[in-house]
Structures are given as structure tokens and as C-alpha cells.
């Protein structure tokens, strides 16, 4: 985006969710829907980030464990994860997250580069951060997140 266009308050909307107590966001435009935990078929021999396949109204959707994708520890509270279904070039993919947050409107100008304290795989997949009163919003680079790792 050219900077000149952003002079007026250009607002981006993010669908947010919690993961390992951090708040993450994905552009609303990429999110197809958010659904409750689904019955899932595990895929033997699959990379660990693939948790299984779900039937989304007749469409088979791969569910990715976003904690594992971001190198965070597995959840221990035993709660069923939520599905954030995002669109990608080969259909839809579900991202498993701990809890769903609100849709937040963020001034595009307030999006900053990830702080140096953010290291490891998270850093590669984070497009930027937004400072908020209640802490940081980490904006995911969804295209990179959906790239195959292995």
C-alpha cells in the first residue's frame, strides 16, 4: 500500500482469537466462518501440525493446529478448540484456536513491525503488531501460515 493513500484513517478489520493467552488477528476478508469444535478424523503419518480432517457441509477441510504451527506448547486445559475457517487457493483450511475474540477495527497506520522480543517461528508468521490498551494484537501473515512446512 502506498503511504499517501493511508493519510485518511484507513481502517482494517481483524477477526481475533486467543492462542496460548496471546491475542491474534486475521484479516476479516480471509475468514470464511468460525465454527465450534468439529468431529475430526486424524490422519496417520501426517505432519504434526495437521490435526485432522473435518466435514464442513460436504467439503473436506484440513484442520491445522495453530499452536503447533506457531511453535507454542499444546493446550493442557482439555477444552475443545474452535475452528477459524480461512480461505486459501485450494479451498478452505481450518485453524484450530483456543478461543474466539471480537472483530477489531484497527487503524492501518498503527500496525507496527513485530518487536525484537518476538523470536522463532512466530516472528516469521507475524505480519505486524498493534499496541492496544489491553496488550498486543499479533496480526498473522495468513498466506505464510498456510504454507507447507515439511
Amino acid at each position: 500500500m502506498s503511504a499517501t493513500q493511508a493519510t485518511a484513517a484507513k481502517v482494517e478489520q481483524f477477526c481475533t482469537f486467543y492462542l496460548d493467552k496471546s491475542l491474534f488477528g486475521v484479516e476479516v476478508g480471509r475468514v470464511q466462518e468460525v465454527i465450534r469444535s468439529q468431529e475430526m478424523t486424524a490422519v496417520p503419518l501426517a505432519p504434526s501440525v495437521v490435526r485432522g480432517l473435518i466435514n464442513l457441509r460436504g467439503q473436506i477441510v484440513t484442520a491445522l493446529d495453530l499452536r503447533r504451527r506457531l511453535g507454542r506448547p499444546d493446550a493442557t486445559d482439555g477444552r475443545a478448540p474452535m475452528n477459524v475457517v480461512v480461505r486459501c487457493d485450494e479451498g478452505a483450511v481450518s485453524l484450530l484456536v483456543d478461543e474466539i475474540g471480537d472483530v477489531l477495527e484497527v487503524d492501518a497506520a498503527s500496525l507496527e513491525a513485530p518487536p525484537d522480543t518476538l523470536v522463532g517461528r512466530s516472528r516469521e508468521l507475524i505480519r505486524g503488531v498493534v499496541q492496544r490498551e489491553k496488550g498486543l494484537l499479533l496480526v498473522l501473515d495468513i498466506t505464510k501460515t498456510l504454507e507447507t512446512t515439511e
Binding site: P44, L45, N55, G58, E150
Partner: protein, 774 residues
Amino acid sequence: MGEMDDVVKEFLVESYENLDRLDSELLELESHPQTREMLSSIFRTIHSIKGACGFLGFSRLESLTHAGENLLSLLRDGKLGVDGQITTALLELVDAVRQMLTTIETNGAEGDEEFEALKAQLKSLQGGASGAAGAKPAAPTAPTAPTANAPANASASETTSAQTSAAPAAAPSEPVPQAATPAAQPVAREATSASAAPSAAPSPERAKPAAAAAPGAGVAENSIRVDVGQLDKLMNLVGELVLARNQVLQLASHSSDNAFVATTQRLNLITTELQESVMKTRMQPIMTVWSKLPRVVRDVSTALGKRIRVEMQGEETELDKTILEAIKDPLTHIVRNSCDHGIETPGVRTERGKPAEGTLTLRAFHEGGQVILEIEDDGGGIDIERVKRKAVSNGLITQEHAARMSEREACGLIFAAGLSTAQQVTNISGRGVGMDVVKSNIEKIGGQIDIANRYLHGLTLRIKIPLTLAIIPALVVTAGGERFAIPQVSLLELVRLEGEARARAIDSIEGAPVYRLRGRLLPLVRLENELGLPTKSKDDDALNVVILQAEGRRFGLVVERICDTEEIVVKPLAKWLKSIPVFAGATIMGDGRVALILDVLGLAQRAHVLGDGPERHSDSGDGAGVRANSTSRRLLLFQVGEDLRMAAPLEDAARLEEFRLQDLEVSGDQRVVQYRDEILPLLPLARAFGRASSLDEPDRQSVQAVVARVGGRRYALVVERILDIVEQDLRLEGEPRQGLIQGTSVIQSKVTDLVNLAAVTCHLDPSAAREVLA
């Protein structure tokens, strides 16, 4: 470039179609130079391309087609005779036009290529017209002139020549007579096939030349052009519907609401019919792929100085478009191979006492829900010894291994990577695409390829392919509590081993478990182990073994439970999962959950059961070999009483089952068993032949039975033992006895009676006879 003009797009699509037809028409013309009708059609096609070019402003293409048109008009008016040289030039013209069209398609404008040489060539051929026309009356390479068609053609050409003067004038504004779209293609080749197989069906084009020549008659109004993407979408939707139907059916089976159950049945029927109809829209005759092959053969044979005739049988056989696409390249490769390595030069052929002209036969037909394609040549076949030597020298196999190899195994070597059997490398074969690629491409679409070799007399390649890929029958099994679907094409049989039998049948060779199935040792693979799933079954449980076949080799897959067969819709896996070779895709089951589809070949490779050695024991009655004679049938062999060996056509047997005697109940004077929600009567087959039945043996635990459907019901025909399934030619000897035995034949070198299962059932259970009559 941006959006291509719709007019240009339409022009391209139509022109491509016409060019494909031109290829075959030109070859036809070469063999039957007298057919003026054909010339008119060729002329019209080129003329309409030219006309459209002028309209669309493609001046180079216009000038090229103009040169061709001039030559064609001389030919059509009989001022010039067709010969090999002219055909070659015209084929080059077709190629050049196609090349220009491709350029237009990609760049939106014609290229800079002027094709001056070709234009000059076309012109010079015209120049020779006035003088040479009489001197070259017929093509020198033309094979026997058509006999049956000739009279019809004569009258046909009268009719058409009267029309041609009118037709071209109408052509530019209406470029393509719709009657000449691919649907009509098979007709164009009729003459070739008619001379090969006396086809009973008269060619509609020849029968009604006037109708065919009149542009836009009939067909145009009754057919529309549909984007394949649209059909794919439709097919996907039907797939969804099939899944939803399966779910509804499952719900209905627990419902006591009669209206709901009835509605469900109706939904079931409609869905099945819809599925079939939509599948039909995607079907195209094999001719759409075959039509390119005569051109390939001509190019190859001309380059090598050979004479090869192409014969086609069953060109109307239909296949799913996706499958046609997938077999196009393998087929071309095989045909090219046959022309190059198979069929000899005229000199060699004469020496071997064969006609100088070689024959390449393409055959297509349906068999058991699959399509069989055969490519047969009457060339030199495979020199097994040479293949072996070559394989040894290339380090593919050891000398010792070569010595032990059967002929069939050695033939299989030509599918190994890195083996070219051509004595000399030509520019036609050996261009990197080997038979190994052919084989893997065919296996990718669930097909199988086999060879029947007749050294010095020819070679037949037989390809078995499924009708469609989208919806396939599959066996559902479980492992580690999860369900998996196994495509039925790879499935040979199901075996359940309990207690004693289990201990007897399972052996171990160097720590690897093997199963002894009718004298043959099969490697056993436990699905849970391969997939890294927890094993739930205990060591002394019954063992469920699914006998599978991959690359002609058999192995046993041990699963937790065998559920049922189901029609499944194959869905591809996402990119994260593509690299797992053991899965071919996923599907949604009746209960709405996702199940993975096993890739049998991938699984076998992962488990290392394919090995590289020959199978430990291959029996002669095995069904894997190719038999040129298509009367071969698959037979189920079983033993009745102590001494009778019997066979029945496999298609008459719905299933093979083993029942525990403790599960049997009595109804009236019959023993019955509850079987898939119905009561299945057990009929002792032995009794029909005056033998004691295994049902009556006192210390027996279980009996084996052939489940057959007679009338509307199923019956279990109890036999002593199921022996084998074989594929073989049936030569029946002896008189039919009481209608129960259809005859006697020697199978696996033993005398075997062929049983009529339906007749035996009616004999043993008169109520079955009533069912049949009803």
C-alpha cells in the same frame, strides 16, 4: 493480455476441432483418394478458417490458408490427384495453421512466421496439376481400396459435388457445419474400421450423404457446447448429493416413519439415476483420443520406411473425460513404440512370411465394469532373451535372477526404468518417456497394464481402466478404531482366520509374517503398524485379511474389522497431506465423518512387500496374464463333498462367506443364518449331487458358502471348500447333466464341472424357483 474477444475464442475452439478432424480426413483421403465428398469437407474446413481470418484480421493465417485452399480446390474438382506428397504438404498445412492458432491463443495476435516455404510448396504442387494430374491417378501408398463403401461413395459424391458450389459460399458467415463436431468423428473413420471388422452398423454419414453435407442439420439444434469446468462442478455437486443420500439412508434405516422411509427410497433412486446421467455427460468415445493416432502412425512409419495400417474396433466405447485425458499420452507412446520397435520393415516382414504391410489394431470394450483397451501389433514381439541380457547389463537384475525369470516376469521388465529394447535409438522412441512412465501414468488413474508377447508374431498390450474416477466402489475397513476405504479395483478377496486355521495359515519367513493362501505365500502387512496406530486386537483374536493386488503382486492386509462396501466420492487431500504415499484421498462416509482412502500401491511400497524378486509361487491358472482371446472368464473354483471339483462364473457369486455353525438357526426344514438384515437360507450344494454336506459333519465349526442372488433373494450355497478364483478360456466338454452342470472343463489341470448356481438353487429350494418365475 486481457480478456480475449469472445469471437476469437469461439473461432479458436471451432478451428481446433476442425483441424483435429482434418488430420484424420486427410489420412482417410490418402487411402481412398476417390472420395470427393471427403475433399469437399476438407476444402470447406480450410475455407471457413480462411473466411474467419479475413473477418478477424489475421492476414498471415489468411494467406496461408488461401494457398492451401487453391490446392484443395484443384483436388476437389478432380484436376489433380491426391498422392503422398500432397497429403504430406496438406498435413504440414494443418500443423502450421494449428501453430498459428496457438500463437493467437497465447498472444492474442498471429506471430511473425510467414511459412513461405510451405506456401511455395503448396503452390508448386498446384503447378504440377495440369500436367501431372493424369500421371498420378492414385496414391502409391494407398492400401486396398474400399470395397463395400465404394458404390455408396460414388452416389454420395454426385450429391455432394452438386452441393459444394453452394456450401462454400455460405461457409464464411457460418464457419462450421455443426454436424462435423467431435460427435461425428467416429463416422469419419468408419471406412478404416469397416475394412478391419465387418461392422454391422451402417455409417450414417455414408447412408445419408446429403444430410451430412448440409450445414447445421439436426445435430446443431440438438446439442450445445458446455464448458468442462461446468460439468466438473456438476459432478462435484452430484458427489455431494450422493453423500447426503448415504446419510439420509442411514437415518432412514433407524426410522419407523413409513412416509419418510418411502421418500428416502425415492431419493435414493433419483440420486442414482442423476449420478449416472451426469456421469454420462462427461463420457466421450475413445475415438476422441484415437483419432490422433493414425497421424502418429503415419509420421512414424513414413520416417522409418515402414508400412503400417491402423485398425480400430470399438471406437464408440465411452470413457470419462478425465480418464481420456490421462491415457492420451501413454497411448500415443505405446503406439509409437509399436510402430518403431514392434512392426518390422517391409523387407524383414516378407522374409518372415508376413504381409509387407504391418497392422496395428486398437481395440476397446467393456468388461466387468471396467474398460479394456488393447493395442496389438503383428510385429516382432519381444525377444525375451535380449530383454533379460539388457536388464542384466544395465544392472537391473542379476544373471541368476534372469535365469529364474518366467516369460511373463521378463516381459514386465520393459516397464522397468532404464531399459530400452530398441536395437537402434531412433528419434521416435527413446525420447525420455519410457514405458515405466506409461505404466505409472496408467496406475495413477487406477488402471493396470499387461503384456501378451508372441515372439516374432506380435505383441498385445492390454490396459484395464475404470470408467470413472469420481465415484468408486470401496471396501471400508477399520484399523486402530479409524475407518479406511480401500478402492475395490485393488481388492481380490477377503479372508477371516480363526483359532486353528490362523495358526496353520500364518508362517514367518525371516521374521516377516506370511500367509499361506492355496499354496501361495503372501506377505502380510498389518495396517495399524504401517500407519503407526495402536493395535487393539489381541493375538488370539480372529484375523481379518484383505487380499490386495498392486503392480501384479499380491499381499495380505491385516485389518481390525471389515465393514462393508460403499460407493464413495473421492476428494483430493490438501497440500499438507499430499506427500503421504499411503493415502489416495479422503471421502465422507454415511454418518458424515471423514474417512481416508488407502492408496494400495503406496501402502505396498511403504511396507516393502513389492520387493524386486519374483513372486514366490506363481500358479498357472492365475488371472493376471493376458489372454488375447476375450472369451476368457473369471471362475470361482470350489470343492463339493469329498471329491467333486466345481466352478461357477464369478459374476454369479455375490459374495463368499464363512458361517459359524453356532450362528445357524432353523426355519421350517431349512437352516438359515441372519445376514445383513435378511434371513439367508443355507443350501447344501453337495446334496444336489448326492454327496454328504459339510453342514452335517458333526465336529465342524464353520462352513464356507457362496452367496448367490436368485430371483430377488439371496441364498448361501454351502460348499466343502472355496479353492480359488481363476481366469481362463472355457472349453466345455460333455453333456449338460440335469441342467445343473453346464459342462465339464479342465481347469488347473483337473477335471472341473461348471455349475449353474441358479439352477442348483432352484433344485434345492423349490421356493427359489417360484421367485424366479414370479
